[in-house]
Symmetry: C2
Subunit: 336 residues, 2 copies
DNA sequence: AACGGGTTTGAAAAGCTTTTCAGGGTCATT
DNA sequence: AATGACCCTGAAAAGCTTTTCAAACCCGTT
């Protein structure tokens, strides 16, 4: 059996109160006893029971992270930032892979609530009404990541997706491209769907290329979906010379499809991705893409959550971290 | 404040014992009261406090997963299997990213112990003495994944790394290659280092190619390391026409290096990887590699841990799941 | 020597649930 | 009508820690 504070007390020949004090306010007990107690703790390898503590302090030093898909490198990077920041402050993180399944999300929230998690970080899924209500009812502090949902006034950390998308497309335009397509996330379903599409349109409008605004196909989330979407896009608008992909994985899908159909990148087709996942550097050709400070986003999310837990409120509600266009090898000037 | 069982009891006009019974053995309370209690529970959205329960049942329905690097797609896949299996049985998983840092691992184990985790899944890191002792002392059930450490008699789930490596190299030999190199994990540091190297050597010996046994370079873990290692390998043995890489990420590193130095894959160099991470299908060229049933490994690990928690022992100590060579585009017959 | 102040200590309560135990009630049987 | 058997219910204990409160002690002062 695990030793309890009683065992320590007995071994040291003091009361349990004294043992407790040695751990929480050592200066209030005389050095001699303090020493004895500390030795007993060491000898028994005593560690206070988190359940009993939780009962008193009403917190578990644990929070949950809900993400759609751990295998997606973007979330993996996020998770890493989150985990590091959490470990830094001695908190544990419980991971909840939602697969974008609503009932699963709901179940996770209830479970986290029951397990007395101190808070929730909610990443990238669309926050539907029912879930939002459950979250509110549970009174669990939560912050949104890569999920700006202005209709709910929940704290969030993100980049400026519209602006970033706009810059990516501008890059293509500056290279001389005039027939540009996009592979986007489905707008209703995924949060970054709408703003990235808006950024695409804005860049087009600025350059007077509105005729391209309909050169858009949507893909669920994975590489394979993007390949198919690329196929549809090339049927719909065979003349395009450049594609803005809403994620690096999509960009790879487009490039793979293009290669399989005899169009080489970047010579005959320029492709710009989004996220700068680690793979973007490893892919051939190396991907031109928009870098998100994904690790930092994770760290900030934890700090924000912590702020929320401690103060009950947060100084800046919606936080936006800087992004950056990184030009590598998958885009090139238009050859006429 | 969160409602407690007391609030429910008061609202329903019964004692707390009755409320508890309604939740844990409903048939022992008369239907009329049962109904009233259930209504009260609904109304207050009462959920029993996990701390109090934990104090009684002495378990948290939570376990920890220690992995070296979430961003490594191999571990992400593993984690997904683990998480799904855990959710299936209503358990939570706490994630611990070790970065292969010994003191961090030790700290995680202590933390998990203190938080009353029910068990630990330990993946891929080398299990050094100190950690093993801590684990044993903590009495926490644990299972090893991709970490066969025969010197400790701990339950494990893995594939047959040596055999798999051997088959990968045989594939190269069957394609006609006679000058074969390898990029491996450092042997002491990483667990899959030694067996994969042994498999490489065995295949060479079988084919009478022992002169290749020294065509080996080691890389830490990442793509960039593999690029450098590839550079060293080509200096050491410029004549090689094929490379066995101990991971898909290494394979990509080799291919990237080769391409940057004017050797195209697979025409002038065949490369076989290991793991079949999702990216292996997306890379150009698509990677020939050894598939590990990574999701299944995660699932089995959870089941094994559960078995261990419930029975205190496990029916088969070391479990080996099947692997499979997948031939794609990064290997080709030798042109003379 | 007695008193007062401060320090140190232990007993007990609180936090929330489950479970044991005993008491109260109901019904049937004699 | 009394007894017994059985069902249902509530009080209380247990699980482990922290914290409050009061008692005990020490020292110095008058």
């Amino acid at each position: 059996m695990k030793p309890t504070i009683r065992d320590v007390a007995k071994l040291a020949g003091v009361s349990i109160s004294t043992v407790s004090r040695v751990m929480n306010a050592p200066e209030t007990v005389v050095p001699e006893k303090r020493q004895r107690v500390q030795e007993a703790i060491e000898r028994l390898r005593y560690k206070p029971n988190a359940f009993a503590r939780g009962l008193i302090y009403k917190k578990s030093d644990t929070f949950g992270v809900m993400i759609p898909d751990i295998e997606n490198p973007y979330y993996a990077g996020l998770l890493r930032g989150i985990q590091d920041a959490a470990a830094e402050m001695n908190h544990s993180v419980i991971i909840c892979n939602t697969d974008r399944d609503r009932s699963r999300m709901l179940a996770y929230v209830r479970n986290l609530f029951e397990k007395q998690a101190d808070g929730i970080i909610f990443a990238s899924d669309s926050l539907h009404r029912e879930l939002y209500d459950e979250l509110k009812r549970s009174r669990l502090p939560f912050v949104l990541v890569s999920t700006d949902a202005p209709e709910y006034d929940a704290p969030s950390v993100d980049i400026d997706n519209e602006q970033a998308a706009c810059e990516a497309v501008r890059h293509l335009i500056e290279l001389g491209h005039r027939e540009i397509g996009m592979i986007g996330f489905p707008v209703g379903n995924t949060i970054s769907g709408a703003p990235r599409l808006a950024g695409f349109r804005r860049a087009l409008a600025e350059a007077g290329l509105d005729h391209c605004a309909s050169h858009v196909e949507f893909a669920a989330h994975r590489f394979e979906d993007a390949c198919e979407a690329a196929g549809r896009l090339f049927v719909r608008a065979p003349q395009i010379t450049a594609v803005f992909a809403a994620s690096d994985e999509f960009a790879m899908g487009v490039i793979a499809y293009a290669r399989d159909h005899g169009r080489s990148v970047p010579d005959q087709l320029s492709v710009v991705g989004f996220d700068d996942i680690r793979m973007a550097r490893m892919f051939i050709p190396r991907l031109t893409t928009v870098e998100q400070p994904v690790y930092q986003i994770g760290v900030r999310a934890v700090h924000k959550l912590h702020e929320l837990m401690v103060n009950g409120e947060v100084s800046v509600l919606h936080e936006r971290l800087p992004h950056r266009l990184i030009v590598r090898e998958s885009t090139a000037g238009l050859r006429v």
